[in-house]
Symmetry: D2
Subunit: 187 residues, 4 copies
Amino acid sequence: MKKSLSLLALPAALLAAALPAQAQVPVANRAITQAEVLAAQTGWCKALLDIGAAHVSGGQPAAKALAEKVIDAAYGYQLGPVLFKPTLTVAPQTFRTTRAGALAYFVGGDAAFPKDDGFALKGWTRCEVSNSAIFIAGDSASTQGNVSFTGKDGKVTTVDKTWSYVKDDAGGLRIVVHHSSLPYAPR
Amino acid sequence: MKKSLSLLALPAALLAAALPAQAQVPVANRAITQAEVLAAQTGWCKALLDIGAAHVSGGQPAAKALAEKVIDAAYGYQLGPVLFKPTLTVAPQTFRTTRAGALAYFVGGDAAFPKDDGFALKGWTRCEVSNSAIFIAGDSASTQGNVSFTGKDGKVTTVDKTWSYVKDDAGGLRIVVHHSSLPYAPR
Amino acid sequence: MKKSLSLLALPAALLAAALPAQAQVPVANRAITQAEVLAAQTGWCKALLDIGAAHVSGGQPAAKALAEKVIDAAYGYQLGPVLFKPTLTVAPQTFRTTRAGALAYFVGGDAAFPKDDGFALKGWTRCEVSNSAIFIAGDSASTQGNVSFTGKDGKVTTVDKTWSYVKDDAGGLRIVVHHSSLPYAPR
Amino acid sequence: MKKSLSLLALPAALLAAALPAQAQVPVANRAITQAEVLAAQTGWCKALLDIGAAHVSGGQPAAKALAEKVIDAAYGYQLGPVLFKPTLTVAPQTFRTTRAGALAYFVGGDAAFPKDDGFALKGWTRCEVSNSAIFIAGDSASTQGNVSFTGKDGKVTTVDKTWSYVKDDAGGLRIVVHHSSLPYAPR
């Protein structure tokens, strides 16, 4: 994934070079591209590890401060409820439609969400996305596939994950749907 | 759900009555409304029970024939890959991006998907949707919440479910994202 | 137009009353409705007359100050170039893709746009929209039809007008396409 | 225009080459790209000249037959009313929200539109687009600028033109807004 993303930078430059005429026409583009979606996924993984690193160096308060920034930048709680079903939540707090619910899930420490112990604080050392398919509707885009988290002990936890993004007025992608679940385990 | 949907019909009629001037302006509307989303959910539940009923009366071939119609009418496989993670699938066939994979999940009987025994053939007697939140992006709309299936023995199975829809050229909603999972069960 | 808009308020209240169950589900809605489009049109007409009134009471500076507020609230220059072809502009300044170009058109007084004498300062006493058709694409919506401006002398000027709107993150409609032209006059 | 479009083909090939990993992930893309918009514009100009050529070789019936194909392929009348204000129409038939109205404008010969003598039959030898700006909303995209038509006598007629497109289920762009007008001529 990382490899293909670094390659992505190349054609962008070439594209600009090949479009001298178009460069002169002002263009506003609110459509979402595949490259933007892949960058958002990579960014999510990096942010998760960064919050864990902040936890190691600065404790839960540092992790919480960073998680707030991440949520405010990468999720769409400013736009309304976010459809967020984290991997490890249970009823009656399964769905985290509010910013507070998302924050509690990632870093814990919120008495209103007593079962949350902080998914980002579990010491993940690696986070990788493997998409099954991508659907770009225009002003929204969705991905589905696996995300694999590697723990301190090297154990890999793989989840099934769906994300949907919209583009905000500043041109950034925001997660407005996030459904994560452990694989079905038939008994 | 059924109750609120029957009420929905009322304001629609009133709206038309209150808008004589607007009625004369031709309008094309490709945006998705909340009422359309709720109707699509109700339709999905009804179709699931109908496929089960076809199974009882006509066997797997009848169920399969109906399931094909349902998938062709309610999912977006004509538009490209569908991001479909059914409740009970496992790797390496977790994600059903193709029509064949969806069909196998609902009615089984496909040697290419040997673990599928037909989710729609399990004798469900009731299917109910309880939304946690809805996000309408414009040309797409997403819901997240619980869907509860009642079995022949009266036992209720509740899943966490995300659906995203787009509107096709004929004005119908099509599922392009479907992520279903059993609730997380902490040990 | 004004009549049908006041009627519009009625079904909205009824709709809310008829949807007690839905009222409990948080909903984000970025789709554009017909009612929002009609309100935006009425708002544009009102703003034009208001700028004219500000001109009468406070001179060009007052008109300009109000026009800046109107443009910042109703057009999409924050989002990128706006596709604005005003009624009375000529080459090489026909198209006003920038905020400065729009402002000059409405209130004049900009040496960079020497032919602009301020369309909003012409003493209009009435502005009415008559739509030919409306196309709602989802995250954008377009209208086309006539807009009639009544002058101080009672003379009515009718133009052919197209507007397209997008919805911003705060839920407001913004004009991103505006094409206005005098009717074709065959010789 | 033609030159920049042939250059466009280059980066597309490079992009594919640079994305081996992505090539394996199925992607549905309903967003509109700048390249698709430019191709649709070039296609419109070509179709206009082609209809004129059909007129020369096969008379009005041949021109009409081709115009019907062009309209059915390039406009959105299947989706609802099209917001079409042609250059040379007058009230009460200024706006051509129906397919019949568009057809009459391009090739004439319809008693219901007595003033239409067929814009495509005027012997144009060249048609060129010069965009002022482009706004891509996601599932719709708009352009505004000049289109220049060269007549048999070499005289060039330039119009101000706005087009908006949506993408249909088959992935093709369709014109749903078209506003064309002669430049304002101050007296």
